[in-house]
């Protein structure tokens, strides 16, 4: 619903120009958003949200009513089309900014890094705004870039009327500033954690590559790096060769819980398992599929049979194997049946007698 407003002819002309170009604004909105989304995705940059909007008729009329004399034409208004990229991390704001610089023409004269114009003793609206344009479209648009926490602050801030110009008692202003300062610290801390984690992962990968597996404790990151070395490949290929079977690659991360449950502490422990129990695992596989015509196996056959061989040899018995299947497949009575079957099949295998 358009509200009835009394605007002078100059402002009416701007409004008319806006209405004439509205469909084109919407098209450019979509184009810019798609380009941004694609570029960030290609760069592997995960963001919390990309928002956009074209200013509504009433909002523009209201703005013109207040300060229409400031603008010669619609082209002087840079916020008819606005986009916002909300990042998870503070250092991603600059990465998004450099993507925006590559994608669009930036009006540097009117672009403000609000993060830098703060007084030394003030906190609050930290956000990066670029005024941009694209060839073939005569109007500029704005792209705001901020973190989730900056976004949260900006929204709360808006809601409390902090920026409305209405006099607000000093103690509330002080509280708002304290909050803003805290959020800024939290953003920095999140960033630090990410940097430290990346660093940790790099160090672990280097240790795994160099073969110092006894020094690497088992967790999700280290196990994933270890799997990249395809440690079970040799055993899998040996088992597959029995029936000229194809090996289907499947995720092996579920075995992390099994290795932990078996009490393994370092990647060296898994490496030793492969060294000491591959023969037992192979014997189990031979017994099970050697006399069948099954010619497809999964890449988890190696770790599965290694764990079975280890559990049986260590005296874990039926309960131990059932526990392993419970970890992998969820608890079920059928796991009990399979454990019993495995126990029966394996008891006369050579590795059990050694």
């Amino acid at each position: 619903m358009k509200k009835a407003r009394l605007l002078d002819p100059h402002c009416e002309a701007i409004l008319q120009e806006y209405q004439d170009n509205l469909p084109r604004f919407r098209e450019v909105e979509q184009e810019v958003k798609d380009k941004l989304r694609q570029t960030l995705a290609d760069a592997g940059l995960l963001v919390a949200a990309i928002e956009s909007r074209v200013k509504g008729y009433d909002s523009l009329a209201g703005k013109l009513e207040l300060k229409g004399h400031k603008y010669k034409s619609l082209a002087d208004l840079t916020d008819i089309l606005g986009l916002r990229v909300i990042t998870f991390y503070i250092d991603d704001v600059d990465k998004v900014a450099s993507a925006v610089e590559r994608l669009f023409d930036i009006d540097w004269e009117n672009t403000v890094d609000k993060r830098k114009i703060h007084e030394i003793d003030s906190f609050g609206y930290l956000s990066l705004h670029y005024i941009c344009s694209v060839p073939g479209f005569p109007y500029r648009f704005e792209i705001q870039m901020r973190t989730l926490l900056q976004h949260a602050w900006a929204n709360m801030d808006h809601d409390t009327g902090y920026k409305s110009g209405v006099e607000i008692p000093k103690r509330y202003l002080r509280n708002m500033s304290r909050l803003a300062g805290m959020l800024e610290l939290v953003d920095d801390e999140f960033s630090k954690i990410r940097i430290e984690l990346t660093d940790y992962r790099r160090r672990v990968q280097a240790l795994v590559r160099s073969g110092n597996l006894d020094e690497v404790s088992i967790d999700g990151d280290t196990f994933r790096s270890y799997l990249e070395l395809e440690p079970f490949n040799q055993l899998n290929k040996r088992i597959a060769a029995m029936n000229q079977a194809e090996i289907q690659e499947v995720p092996l991360m579920p075995y992390l819980a099994v290795f932990k449950a078996l009490g393994f502490k370092t990647l060296g422990d898994i490496s030793n398992l492969i060294k000491d129990y591959s023969e037992g695992a192979y014997q189990i596989a031979c017994y099970q599929i050697g006399l069948t015509d099954l010619d497809i196996i999964s890449s988890s056959i190696g770790p599965q049979d290694l764990c079975i061989a280890y559990i049986l040899k260590m005296g874990g018995g039926k309960a131990g194997i059932k526990y392993m299947f419970d970890q992998l497949n969820g608890e079920s009575e059928s796991n009990d049946l399979m454990a019993e079957m495995l126990l029966e099949q394996s008891k006369d295998l050579p590795f059990m007698k050694k």
């Binding site: 999964s298 890449s299 059928s334």
Partner: protein, 101 residues
């Protein structure tokens, strides 16, 4: 080998009846292609009356699972008998599927 497919909203149930050996797998591969159309939802392979599965049958199950993974759906293997369960275990595919008793 017979497959009865029943679809209701995002849940598709396929009743597998008989022996899924190599010739039967070729016979029903068209049915599995049809099933893959519903891979964005949940597909239950009801194996109550499935007596046997060969490598070719396993491949059909796997390609259906792949289709579901790429479309955000899932495949549930329901009520497999002891022999079929041991085929899944011996080949290392047991934990790849959600198996319901």
């Amino acid at each position: 080998m017979e497959i009865k497919i029943n679809t209701q909203d995002s849940l598709t149930t396929a009743q597998l009846i008989g022996r899924l050996d190599t010739p039967a797998s070729q016979e029903v591969s068209g049915d599995f292609d049809n099933l893959a159309q519903y891979a964005a939802g949940t597909i239950v392979l009801d194996c109550t009356e499935l007596e046997y599965i060969s490598s070719s049958g396993l491949r059909l199950f796997l390609s259906l699972r792949k289709a579901a993974a790429s479309k955000g759906g899932k495949v549930i293997v329901k009520a497999i008998n002891k022999d079929i369960r041991s085929v899944f275990m011996m080949t290392g595919f047991l934990n790849l599927f959600e198996i319901q008793d």
